[in-house]
């Protein structure tokens, strides 16, 4: 599942992911409703933008981690910032199953990371 406020980006990313024929992709562009949408969709892996208007990506992670069902959901954080330092460190430190990727990211890399995350979960 993709959560990012940039619709163009999520659309293209979904198209790329679907083209592989490996994934069923859900998209949410509103940060406010993201947690609910994730609960409803029950993804195997979440691709999450770190900085969105309204809610910080870190906050979303924190909320998900309190939910027993989503506690172990692998999360790939996509960030337009450069490094971990710039994220709220608590959220990052407390979460395993969390990978940071810096935008722009190419599909090759992204697919590798997704596969790795899913493999971990399995």
């Amino acid at each position: 599942m993709l959560v990012d406020d940039e619709e163009g980006f999520t659309n293209l990313l979904r198209m790329n992911l679907e083209k592989t024929g490996l994934f069923e992709v859900g998209v949410e562009n509103e940060a406010d409703s993201a947690v609910d949408a994730i609960r409803a969709f029950k993804p195997d892996v979440l691709l999450l933008d770190v900085v969105m208007p309204g809610v910080d990506g870190g906050d979303i992670v924190a909320q998900l981690r309190t939910d027993p069902e989503l506690k172990n959901l692998p999360i790939i954080m996509l960030t337009a910032l450069i490094s971990r330092e710039e994220l709220s460190p608590d959220a990052v430190a407390e979460s395993e199953n969390l990978i940071m990727l810096s935008k722009p990211v190419n599909m090759e890399m992204l697919l590798k990371v997704i596969e790795a995350s899913l493999g971990k979960k399995a």
Partner: protein, 468 residues
């Protein structure tokens, strides 16, 4: 008569005994004072010798004693004994008439002073005419050093058996002191003036330094604000870049567009995204004081790898590459990713400068040497301090091109953020700004000069690793 004598006594000045050629010594213990004796004697025997216009010797003595100049008289025929010593003379010299009368200069003064006076006296006598001594120094037992302006007159009267030296003097000690002070003051002043000049020089030097520092500060400030801006912009730019890359990915993946150029276009688009991404990373790096990921790196292979990154650009512009890679080059501590950015930027600049001209040549040299005195880098704008010192082992990468070169009036500007001579879309003007920052983070130096012939020489210098 006693009154007269007493009157004499005030400033006893005449020793008639001396005049008579008799021993003329006054009895110091004689409390009746020399004057009294003299007065009596004068009256008795020598009255006629004093000008007859005066009613008596006492009157003459009073006149002498009230003269505003010092007057004395010595009897040359009697060992130059003092026979006249007026009040003013006593004031000036601090030697009273009682002390002076009947004595010679040798009794009163130290030998040098006495010699000096005696010589002059003799000269005056032998010349037989007045002598003006503009300045005499005298060590007075009571007054210390005093200066006199003296006129000496020989009085020779064979008829009366007289052979006298008459002296008239003026105390010029004060004048002299004033002069001295003035001279000292003058010296002082010129010394002060010198100091002032020196100070002034220092000041203008300091001023220049201040100006330079100010420029650096302005430059630094510019950098910092660019940095802050960059961090903000980075975020805004990276999202569209991510989108763009997704689009390129979508189009690249096995779709048949029917146009043979499409794959190449897509590759270039991907490269463009990469480049833009790199620049933004560099910019953000440049703004943040993040730690470098330093690793001891073998320079030659590193340079060759960096060249590979621009091989497309090189072949496209038909540029020949000449490598002079030195042997025995020590390793350097560098952040590979960032230093790669530095080299690629410098290569691309060189390539851009040579584009459109046939026979472009990109020369890359590596070498190692010990830094000589005075060779330490003095990069302005470098606030990190100069970590390289003379004697240090350093490695140098030189990148030489045969391009357009940089106009003299622009060479100062090339490190400025956003300074570019290239059209929008081709140059951002951030290349060298970032390059310089990265080099500074490595405590290295970067110099960019026009070559004598044609083109530009970029010289990178870094301190070599201690081991290896």
């Amino acid at each position: 008569m006693k009154d007269d004598a007493a009157h004499w006594g005030e400033g006893v000045c005449v020793d008639p005994g001396g005049l008579k050629g008799h021993d003329g010594y006054m009895n110091r213990e004689d409390e009746s004072a020399a004057g009294a004796t003299m007065a009596e004697r004068n009256e008795d025997t020598d009255n006629h010798r004093v000008s007859t216009t005066f009613r008596d010797v006492g009157m003459l003595a009073t006149v002498f004693n009230n003269l505003p100049v010092a007057v004395f008289c010595k009897d040359a025929s009697n060992d130059f004994r003092i026979i006249l010593w007026n009040k003013k003379n006593a004031e000036i010299t601090g030697i009273s008439a009682e002390e002076a009368l009947g004595k010679t200069d040798y009794d009163l003064f130290i030998k040098e002073t006495a010699d000096f006076f005696r010589n002059i006296d003799k000269v005056v006598l032998s010349n037989g005419k007045l002598l003006d001594v503009p300045e005499e120094k005298m060590d007075s037992p009571n007054m210390g050093k005093i200066y006199l302006h003296t006129i000496k007159v020989p009085i020779v009267d064979p008829e009366r058996g007289l052979k006298l030296i008459l002296g008239i003097c003026e105390d010029i000690t004060e004048k002299k002191k004033a002069q001295e002070q003035l001279r000292e003051l003058g010296e002082n002043l010129s010394e002060k003036e010198k100091q002032l000049l020196k100070l002034n020089e220092n000041l203008s030097h300091a001023n220049e330094e201040l100006k330079a520092t100010q420029l650096q500060l302005i430059q630094a400030e510019k950098m910092e604000s660019v940095g802050r801006l960059a961090a903000g912009v980075a975020h805004e730019v990276k999202n569209p870049l991510a989108l763009l890359l997704m689009g390129v990915e979508y189009l690249s993946d096995g779709l048949d567009h029917g146009d043979p150029h499409v794959p190449q276009v897509l590759i270039e688009m991907r490269e463009a995204v990469d480049r833009a991404d790199n620049i933004i990373r560099g910019l953000v790096d440049f703004s943040s004081s993040r730690q470098l990921d330093l690793k001891a790196t073998e320079l030659n292979s590193f340079v060759q790898n960096a060249l590979l990154l621009v091989r497309h650009e090189l072949t496209r512009s038909n540029i020949k590459v000449v490598k002079h890679l030195g042997s025995d080059i020590p390793k350097v501590m560098i952040d590979k990713a960032k230093m790669e950015q530095v080299l690629v930027n410098l290569f691309i600049n060189a390539i851009h400068a040579m584009e459109g001209h046939e026979g472009g040549k990109l020369e890359v040299r590596t070498s190692a040497k010990n830094l000589k005195r005075g060779e330490t880098s003095h990069d302005e704008g470098s606030r990190s301090g100069h970590q390289m010192r003379s004697g240090d082992r350093v490695v140098t990468i030189e990148i030489l091109d045969t391009g357009t070169g940089i106009p003299d009036d622009k060479i100062e500007k090339i490190f400025d953020p956003f300074y570019t001579s290239k059209p929008t879309g081709i140059g951002t003007g951030l290349g060298l700004t970032v390059v310089k920052k990265i080099v500074e983070l490595h405590n290295g130096s970067l110099e960019i000069q026009n070559r004598q012939a044609k083109g530009v020489r970029a010289t990178l210098t870094f301190k070599a690793c201690d081991e290896s």
